[in-house]
């Protein structure tokens, strides 16, 4: 499926996501989360100039999407605790609810626009009374207090909005793939294989499970571990390939955790602006996740 989404400038993540999902409406049976995630991320990548505030929200949504996608890769979803299960649906539903709300107001805005277009066809009479009465009209300034004038001056000269990234709604849950790699290496026995489930048994937060999974993939990529899985969605087993420490590719690790450093200098994507490289590239096998800051409970739930 190819998307010619070159078109509009998306106003925000919901805009983009709505566009991506509803665009696929015609191909309803082929709709799948991973495609949406991929296209979303590649859209994000193409936006070479993201405002910081816009970027934050885009990244939050991206993180949620990646998380949704990553869940499919986690084994034994059917056995996770009920709490987790509920939480997962809750989060997905929250995103869904926000999308619905956004769509609702988009359509409401259209209705307002229609009212305005209709109203624009009429011009109100504003001339007021004719001469004999005109001089009787009280002067509007007589009702204005000097303080109101001062307030108006302040309003007019006030600084334009200072862009403040509102991070209140971002839960301070941080997980680093680099740290997860260390944890995995610490936990993984030198000789015998270990199930992924066991590897994440001590992880208190879903996010850590996901990041630990990414860490395992990274180790796999670097040839430190081998992965065994006999059936789809079956138990995933991790086995250390070599005894002792293998030299880890630090750059590759940095790739995960340090989005500010453009690690793809040798990349052939030449139209990228490295200064603002917010690398969520999906050129590699998996979405690279920058220092993941997930948002378990975004504000602004629909009323």
């Amino acid at each position: 499926m190819s998307y010619a989404v070159r078109t509009p400038v998306f106003e925000g993540p919901f805009d983009l996501l709505l566009h991506l999902i509803l665009k696929q409406e015609v191909e309803l049976w082929e709709v799948s989360l991973h495609e949406i995630v991929d296209v979303y991320l590649s859209e994000l990548e193409r936006m070479d100039q993201l405002d910081l505030d816009v970027a934050t929200e885009f990244l939050l949504i991206a993180a949620t999407l990646v998380e949704l996608k990553a869940r499919r890769l986690l084994p034994g979803l059917d056995e996770v605790e009920l709490d987790e299960e509920l939480l997962r649906f809750e989060e997905r539903d929250l995103l869904l609810a926000r999308l619905l709300e956004c769509k609702t107001f988009k359509d409401a805005a259209q209705a307002l626009a229609a009212h305005i277009r209709r109203a624009d066809r009429s011009v109100p009479r504003t001339v007021g009374p004719e001469e004999p009465y005109r001089w009787m009209v009280p002067d509007p300034l007589e009702r204005v207090k000097p303080d109101a004038l001062r307030a108006a001056a302040l309003r007019a000269m006030a600084a334009p909005p200072v862009v403040v990234v509102d991070t209140d709604h971002v839960a301070p849950v941080r997980a680093s793939v680099r740290e997860a790699v260390e944890s995995v290496l610490r936990l993984l026995p030198a000789s015998e294989p270990m199930s992924f489930r066991a590897l994440v048994s001590g992880a208190p937060h879903r996010l850590e499970v996901i990041v630990r999974f990414l860490a395992v993939l990274e180790l796999y990529k670097q040839g430190v571990v081998d992965l065994l899985q006999f059936t789809n969605f079956g138990e995933l087993t991790v086995r250390r390939l070599h005894d002792g420490e293998t030299a880890l590719d630090a750059a590759s690790l940095a790739d995960w955790d340090d989005p500010a450093i453009p690690v793809d200098a040798d990349d052939d994507r030449d139209d990228r602006d490295d200064r603002e490289a917010i690398d969520l590239g999906i050129d590699d096998d998996l979405p690279e996740v920058p220092e993941v800051v997930l948002e378990p409970a975004p504000q602004g739930q629909p009323a």
């Binding site: 049976w29 709709v31 799948s32 989360l33 991973h34 619905l100 009429s122 004719e130």
Partner: protein, 219 residues
Amino acid sequence: MTEQTATDLVARRAIEAMVLASTEPVEARLLAQLVELPVTRVEELCDELAREYEDTERGFVLAHVAGGYRFQTHPDLAPYVERFVLDGQHARMSPAALETLAIVAYKQPISRGQMSAIRGVNVEATLTTLLQRGYVHEVGRDPGPGAAVLYGTTREFLERLGLPSLDALPPLGDFVPDASVVEALERGLRVSDDPTPVDESADDGSDAPDSSHSSPSSD
């Protein structure tokens, strides 16, 4: 002519004169006070007048806008009036401004943070525009911690939309996406453990390059 209708006639004429002389929509309450009739009667008279203008194909209408009555040109005559009143042109509103305005209209009183949450982007700039244009204003403070400024729509907003009051806005429920859209969205975000098999099969195929079975030397 009975006394009753004589009173009505004077009231009707007085209403026409006062509304004509006004620069703003005139509230029925004010008209009622000046013609010394109940507000409901004044409203009836205004309705009658409006119908009469329509029936006699006048070039103007008596419109009920922003809580009051005003004379305005009949929309049919827009081509003439537009050529004539050159500086009456309104600035167009961006889609972003309209969306934010819709949110304020339906959710007022509402804080900036709440607007941003709904739109998924910072509404700072659009809100400033709306404030400057006078469609939106501060209506209070959130009693909660932080005491966020709450915003609501203004009388200018109603005038711009040509609506008598906020109640005349179409109900928000009219815009809630229908089932097919909801389904499309739901499907778009479906996680794999959802029971529908359709999704699963689509995944299995296309997810392959992503799965851990791919060759380890991929880098």
